[in-house]
């Protein structure tokens, strides 16, 4: 004979509710941890407690190693979009808007967002797994016992390198995207480079460039912070490292889309 309380506990509805509740608690805890670590990192940056050698190493890792994949993704996205619209626009008599459309698309959206996605896959996952491995092999505990702040030693150079290198990557990737758009237009239509670039310049305003740079700073910092936080909070063995990396990638992707939405509403609505 089971009691009413036991019956409720064993019911499928209760189990589903419990699963949602656990997800919700985990979501709030992760968000809280990221925000807390973000403020702690910011505190050390403001105090100027930055390990310059480590920062340089992380900048090289963030910028140089991810450049090929970032250029590939932005370049290919530009080719895909341009090849589909350029010929059609020329046919409809809007050839002189092809450059304008591609440049707006690349500078306002594709450059920063696609670079963000490339950085998440290339750097974010590697940061999360690195810190998670350090956590499960007690290296982070060792840092703490040696009375060194793990936030200062691990987070500050990584987050700062994201903030510094992401705008540089986005500028290079966006320029590359506009250029591949020009090449695609030249190959698929009879529009000249001059016509393409004349209209491309018309579409880019100072505001677009400023927002693009601001966006990339926020994206870079967010990806590095989320990845470091997820890795830092890992537990267990190999499974814990995998879960932390997975969580870092998912959270970073969602965060980038949310930030992008906020930027679009704030600056272009």
């Amino acid at each position: 004979m089971i009691t009413f309380r036991q019956y409720i506990r064993q019911s499928t509805t209760c189990k589903i509710f419990n699963a949602f509740y656990k997800q919700f608690v985990d979501f709030v805890a992760t968000l809280g941890t990221i925000v807390y670590n973000g403020f702690a990192t910011l505190k050390y940056i403001c105090l100027g407690q930055i390990n310059l050698k480590e920062l340089m190493d992380q900048c090289v890792r963030f910028g140089i190693s991810s450049l090929p994949i970032t250029l590939s993704i932005v370049g290919m996205t530009s080719i895909i979009v341009t090849s589909q619209v350029a010929a059609e626009m020329v046919k409809q008599g809007g050839g002189h808007f092809v450059g304008l459309l591609v440049s707006i698309l690349i500078v306002r959206e594709v450059g920063a967002v696609m670079s963000g996605f490339a950085i998440i896959s290339m750097i974010g996952s590697s940061l999360a797994s690195e810190l998670a491995t350090m956590r499960v092999t007690e290296q982070i505990d060792a840092i703490t016992v040696l009375k060194v702040s793990p936030i200062r030693y691990l987070f500050v150079p990584r987050v700062l390198s994201g903030i510094i290198m992401m705008p540089i990557l986005v500028v290079i990737a966006s320029a590359f995207g506009v250029l591949t758009g020009a090449l695609t237009t030249a190959m698929t239509t009879e529009l000249s480079f001059k016509a393409y670039f004349d209209s491309a310049w018309l579409g880019i305003y100072m505001k677009d460039l400023s927002v693009c740079l601001l966006k990339s700073v926020v994206f870079g910092g967010t990806i590095a912070l989320i990845s470091c936080s997820c890795g830092y909070e890992a537990s267990g063995g190999a499974k814990g490292v995998g879960l932390a990396t997975n969580k870092a990638v998912v959270w970073s992707l969602v965060a980038i889309v949310i930030w992008d939405l906020i930027f679009s509403i704030t600056f272009f609505f």
Binding site: D141, A142, V145, L146, K147, V148, Y153
Partner: protein, 239 residues
Amino acid sequence: MSIKVKNLTKIFDEKKVLDDISFEVADGETLAVVGFSGSGKSTVLKLICGLLEKDEGEIITSEGDIAMVFQYSALFDSLDVADNISFALRERRDLRNKYTEQELKEIVTQKLGLVGLSGIERKFPSELSGGMQKRVSFARAIVTEPKTILYDEPTAGLDPISSTLIEDYIVRLQQETNAASIVVTHQMSTITRTANKLIMLYNGKIVFEGTPEELLRAENPYTKQFVTASLEGPMQMIS
């Protein structure tokens, strides 16, 4: 008294992992903490060095640093041996600008000499054997001249000869530093070769307290079972 633990309690998920335990370790003394896996031995060390927060009780340690040697060394794999050893001297706020590069180099050489590993400064942890990694982690632990040294299963995963070598170094470091040490171990050889006294934990409580000699002679059913490695006795493994 270098380490004084009084009525220490630690609870994980409503389970008392440590239940009101007390012990003391004087300067120059080594206490071995023994017991089954999961009996709370490593938790004692993590509470003393501040990696975990206690729920109840008191932990009093002498002024000065607490060093810990981790079970699997926990060397920083992105840094070479020299940078691992000098890590605290380079990164700690109060020590950061205290030493010149030349002084740091001399300290690293001296500490490596102390653990019998001169000349491996530029090697990375992945290039070292388990025993060598452990000795490097000893050198890293003593670089700040600690007053308390904690060893978490220092001979785990090592062959008998490397284990003997590690035990010798524990004794040697003890003589060099005169620190109060706690060694968490399962191995009888580590207990008898390194410790002055020991406590045995079971179900979060101290079930035996004495010297290694007393452990071997005691009629206590817990120690008898531990020494004879018998499945029969009051301590039951969770299968």
